[in-house]
């Protein structure tokens, strides 16, 4: 490791962008699940889809900034393979691999919005099951690779971010589709 006298700008940007990316993608996951359960009613579905898509692409942009900053940091010394290939990172390879795979899954999900007409509604929905993996892996990455969520902050963020995901998933699984649609129609 090299002695850096100046402010470690790349490191600070990497941490900030990573946290912002996680926050935005968590919001996107909540929104996607909220739409999927139809608890918010049919009236707002189109607008929510627009927000869901915008959040996914914004989160992806933040991941890009996070990755670029990690590569620019002279202390970490990450090359292109380390940020693109799972388990290629020299530092905490498993923790970084979780972030790499989450990044690839997020890219696939964001691109799938544009491919929707080509892959069909059913295929698109099936592809969207990967968002559970992307969320879980990004949470694991944030908890295990970052230094910002060390200590009590990690479990608090995990509960705040993961709680609604778990709740909405249970609603999605346990509530029959007909009843959800009826509840939405009553609004």
């Amino acid at each position: 490791m090299t002695l850096t006298a100046a402010l470690p700008v790349a490191w600070l940007v990497a941490r900030a962008a990573g946290l912002v990316a996680f926050g935005i993608l968590t919001l996107s996951t909540w929104l996607g699940l909220g739409m999927s359960t139809r608890l918010l009613g049919p009236r707002y579905q189109a607008r929510l889809l627009g927000w869901h898509r915008t959040l996914a692409w914004t989160g992806l942009g933040m991941i890009g900034l996070h990755v670029a900053a990690v590569m620019a940091d002279p202390v970490l010394g990450f090359g292109l393979p380390a940020v693109l290939v799972p388990f290629a990172a020299p530092w905490r390879p498993a923790a970084i691999a979780a972030g790499v795979v989450a990044g690839w899954l997020t890219l696939m999900l964001a691109v799938s919005f544009r491919m929707r007409s080509r892959i069909g509604q059913r295929g698109w929905r099936r592809l969207h099951y990967a968002s559970f993996g992307a969320f879980l892996l990004s949470l694991l990455h944030a908890l295990s690779a970052g230094t910002d969520l060390a200590g009590l902050g990690g479990p608090v963020v995990a509960v705040v971010a993961g709680g609604p995901v778990l709740w909405l998933t249970l609603v999605r699984i346990l509530t029959p589709r007909v009843r959800r649609a009826a509840a939405a129609g009553a609004r």
């Binding site: 490791m1 941490r15 230094t147």
Partner: protein, 69 residues
Amino acid sequence: MSYRIIIDRTTCSGYGSCIEQSPALFALGADGIATAPSETADREAALAAARACPMGAIAVLDEDGKELR
């Protein structure tokens, strides 16, 4: 013999290298800044953490106040 550990809180940037190097001695505080006991008998662990810090934020002093390297 005990050794004094000084962490420059304005320079520490939360890389966590000291914790990786000497987890028994160093930890990250809630504010993301490294913490350590002010004194230790474990000279090697303290020095290893100081050497690993990319910001040079950790100093280890002997009983005479001389900085060890």
